[in-house]
């Protein structure tokens, strides 16, 4: 066998290389580098339908990730999905009348919560609820509406073309 020193050096570099690879995989390949650190606040929103939104999905404003979806629950009283979001404290000036909608990133991408700023002077604080929400667009519902619009008779009430069904959640 080679001298002990050479063995130690190559073993050491092998072990270091292994841990460097593990560190690279755990930090550079995964989406956790955007995880919301210590300073953050929670807001919630209630949706009629969240589509395939998952815990950990991005919360973004103007395309910039400002937070993550912390938890998703179902409220039996309201028959609605309650989405808790953790927003980084750097972005502490979200107007109270902001609008949260569930969007899809690209054709094959996952869903995320997009926040559009409102005009209010009051800002959202921890524990507040975003009142104006827009549900996820379900492909089947869209197609149904399209088919109904194309094939339906004209004397039917025109409630269907109101696709963006903006609802006020906090009644």
């Amino acid at each position: 066998m080679r001298s002990t020193r050479a063995v130690d050096i190559s073993t050491g570099s092998f072990v270091l290389l292994g841990f460097a690879a593990l560190f690279f995989l755990a930090t550079q390949i995964t989406n956790r580098e955007l995880s919301v650190g210590g300073n953050s606040y929670d807001v919630e929103a209630q949706f009629e339908n969240i589509g395939s939104l998952k815990v950990g999905a991005a919360v973004s404003m103007a395309g910039v990730t400002v937070g993550r979806v912390e938890s998703i629950a179902y409220d039996q009283e309201l028959y609605k999905a309650v989405v808790h979001m953790r927003i980084n404290s750097l972005f502490d000036r979200l107007p109270k009348d902001s609008d949260a909608s569930i969007m899809t990133a690209g054709l094959l991408g996952g869903q995320y919560v997009g926040i559009t700023a409102g005009g209010s002077e009051d800002y959202l604080k921890s524990g507040d609820r975003i009142e104006f929400v827009q549900d996820a667009l379900i492909l089947e519902v869209l197609i149904n509406q399209l088919v109904a619009n194309l094939g339906g008779s004209k004397d039917e009430p025109a409630s269907k073309d109101d696709q963006s069904s903006t609802t006020e959640a906090g009644k």
């Binding site: 073993t11 072990v15 995989l25 755990a26 390949i29 989406n31 580098e33 996952g110």
Partner: protein, 259 residues
Amino acid sequence: MSLVGELTDGLRGFVTAVGSVTVFLGRILGQTPRAFARPGLIIDQIYNAGALSLIIIMICGLFVGLVLALQSYQLLERFGSEDALGTGAALALLKELGPVVTALLFAGRAGTALASEIGLMRATDQLTAMEMMAVDPIRRVVTPRFIGGVVAMPLLAMIFIAIGIFGAAFEGVQLLSVDSASFWSQMRSAVDVKDVMEGLIKGCVFGAACSLIAVYEGFNAIPTAEGVGRATTRTVVISAVLTLILDYMLTAVMLATRS
């Protein structure tokens, strides 16, 4: 001899082998705390199993990544979703290809070395000599080699995966002109730390299985030149089959416990 009789004998032989491997593992684990009293022996074995396998692991990782990107691109191009190349390559490498291919290479490179080394010690009566000097060969010879393999294998798998991802990125971005930003960003948004942990756990389990088979076969080799050769062959064959069976079972368990 009747067919039923042969089957019964084969089954009995299999059950006996499983039992004696388990007992052997118990003896190794019993000696493990004391083996750490001499870390030099373990470092030597990490060198043997890990550092000496590094070059072959890196070359194979690079080419697996290259060919993975090439093949996935042909498939994804049909659906116009070449941007998903990074996601596909990273998940395939992390979850399956990385740990499994590394384990097969590890069995071929390090497992055979372990089995033939211990087998030759048996054939040249070195193990018996140790016993006569009241040195437990399990503690002195087998346990450090087992620990070295268990430590080295997951690290090798991580290196393999990292190099493979770089290979896939090179092939995809440089040669097939997939957009570099969407390659990496789609990969980042789709891969979770859990996926990395899955690869790491698989690496540890395969490392333990392959090392155990190698030291068991070497330790119980028939003390002749032919016996050592047979033990080496059996090490590779059993390790490869066991790795693939364990991979299926681990994947099933991980998918079931995931959500």
